[in-house]
Structures are given as structure tokens and as C-alpha cells.
Amino acid sequence: MRTEEVSVLRAHDLKCVKGSTELFSNIHFQIESGEALVVEGSNGSGKTSLLRILCGFNYPAEGEISWCGKTIDGHEDYQQQISYIGHASGVKLDLTVLENLVFAQRLVGSDRDETEIKDIIRSVGLFKQRNVLTRKLSAGQKRRVALARLQLEERKLWVLDEPLTALDKEFVTDFENVLKKHLEDDGMLVVTTHRELLLPDSLTKKINLSA
């Protein structure tokens, strides 16, 4: 599924304005295959906005983002490289855990069979609840459904907005391992978090939007 060549995500001189307030400006970074970018900053500093700009949902006031040397505006398959989990995680509350994942993977265009999906559900610890409506799960369990989707989609660039919210300690450790594995497989990661996330230092870049 993954291409051998090195992918590069590069942001040049980004500036974001919401209404009349400037959230951030002069943001530069570059990450390559196997690298992670951790976005830090206080509440309201524009972390979510930056992530949405990266996904192409919002537009920056200035600056540009390029993927493998081509600007993402009008890039034909950039958005198909992304798995995005935002504050609203794209989980349908009126579907069961299993249904959510089955539909999600069909929409991204992969065709795993049900046993593989069940394995992933087991790995996020929701096997017993697989036929329960997501509405009835706890906040942390809903988050787990969203994170299970990541592993299903097999996309190159993971863009995660506060993925650790409501997760318990043991699962955070499991999830860190999933992230490390993703980086080892030449994946890329852009993540915001207020909690400590243990990732290999050599592969992790940090930017702070409040600075």
C-alpha cells in the first residue's frame, strides 16, 4: 500500500486569521516519511486550525503547504493520503462499533475482511462491545473507535487532534506503540496534545504556536 519513495510535507510561512484576530503567523516546518510533528500551544492558539489547514479543510491567510514538492491546493491525491481525527471524530453514534469500522474502511476504499476488522477491534479493547451502538459507549471508548479507524485506513499521513482525550493510561501506552509502528513503517504524523506523548526524540519535531 505504501510507496517506497520519501514523502515530504512542508509548510511555508503559514498565517492563520480567525475573524479579526491573528492566531499564528510565520509557521515553517517540514517533515519526511517516518517523522512526527508535535504541535504545542495554549488553548485557542490555533492548533486545531493549523491541523485543518494541513488537511485542506481550511485555507491559510498566507503561506502555502506542499506535499512532495507540489502545493496541496489542487493536488489531485493529497487528501487521499490523510487519516484525520478531529475533536468530532467521525464516528457515527447510531451505528455499532463494527458497523462504524466496516463502513469507514469501505469509504476509504480498502477491502479487509471482517476477521481483520475484528482483530483491530480486539486490539483497541472493544471486542465485547463490537455490536453495541457507539452512542452507548463512554467518551474514551468512542475515542478508541476513532483510533481503530486509523489502523484500518492505512493512510500515510495521520493528522490527530488531541487523540489522547479521555483515554486511560494503559491504552495511551498501547496507542504510543501504534504510533511508533506507524513511524517505523515510514508513516508520518502530525499531532496536538496536552498530555505527554512518548515518541522517539530523533524522529519528532516540535512547534509551539503560543511562542
Binding site: 485543518r52 488537511c55 485542506g56 479543510f57 481550511n58 485555507y59 487528501q79 487521499q80 490523510i82 487519516s83 484525520y84 478531529g86 475533536h87 468530532a88 471524530s89 467521525g90 464516528v91 457515527k92 453514534l93 447510531d94 451505528l95 458497523e99 463502513f103 469507514a104 469501505r106 469509504l107 476509504v108 476504499g109 451502538l133
Partner: protein, 222 residues
Amino acid sequence: MLSALITIIRRDLLVAFRRRSELVNPILFYVIVITLFPLGVSPDHEFLSKLAPGVVWVAALLAALISMESIFRQDFDDGSVEQLFLSQHPPTLLILGKVIAHWLITGLPMLVIVPLMALLLYIPEQAIPTLFLTVLIGTPILSLIGAIGVALTAGLRGGGVLLGLLVLPLYIPVLIFASAAVSTAIEGLPSSGHLAMLGSGLILALILAPLAISASLKISMN
């Protein structure tokens, strides 16, 4: 491609089925509006059959309008809209699937119940096939146009009021041609001209609306 279309239709139908109370709301509204007319205006046979095409279609327009909101509301709240644009498949295709699902939920029940409504309003038998056809061709147009409006207003608070103002003027051609088709059929005249206009409207909407909805969703996400 086709499998993606079917997948999203199935997903939306399943979600709708799990929220049954919302499912019956528009069709109940439709039936109530039509049954109130004979009570409120006059149960007179000839008078009603003259009024009927307009009544059936005005009720259909309003029922479509109140049902529209549900097409993207939840998707905006749970973050599914973003996922539409990250899919391997073209967003316009998935959006078309969503509109089809929405029509199956709201338009199809209307189609099933409209012959009964026709009897209630003394529409003569020879006009019922035409009425059926106008609903078959007209309600998908309502869903397609309505979805553009919802996509534009979904990001706003109190978008519901704006939706009516935005969408109802665009519904008017459908109302005019559909009720005219039924009226001419009641008088025993051929109504194929009006039906052809409706049909061309449907083709136009099928081609252009998904593009407009996709662009509108992008604006609303921003």
C-alpha cells in the same frame, strides 16, 4: 465507484432506521396538511379537485423543507463531513449517495402515499398516474436542491430560517410545473410538456447539484 455509492446509501439508511421518530416526522406532516384541507376549506367534491394539485404539491414542498435539515446536520456534528473529502472516492459521488438515501427516506414514502391523498382530494382517476409521475420526478429535485441549501447553512447557528428563504424560491419552478401537469391531466388534456420540463429539471439537478453541494460543504467547513 458503484460500491462506494451503495455503501454510503446503506450507511445513511441504517442510521435513519435507528432514528425512527425523525423518519416518520415529514411524512406525517405531509398527510396531516393534506387531510386538514377538506376540513378547513370545504369538503365539496368539485372545489377540492380544483384545489388538489396545488395542495398536494405545496404540502410536498413544505414536508421536503422540514426533512432537509437532517441530511447533513449530524455529519457536521460528528465530523463525518470531513471524512467525505478524505475518501478514496470522489466527494460528489458520496454526496449523491447521501441525497439518494435522503430521498429514499423522505420522497419514497410520499410517492407511496400520494395515490391515497389523491382519493382524499377527489382527484379523478385519469389524473392519478400523472400525479404519481410528478411526485416521482419532482421530489428528487427537491432533495437535490434542498441539500445545497443545507450544505450552505449547516455551519451557521439558526440556519433553519435561512434555509427556507434560500431554498423555497428554487422550489417554485417544481411547484409550478408539477401542479400544472396535474391540473391539465384533471381536465383531460395531455400533460407531457409539463412532465418533460420537470424531467429536464431533474437531469439538470442530478448533474449540477452534487457539485454545488460539494462546494457548499467546503465553504461551510471553513
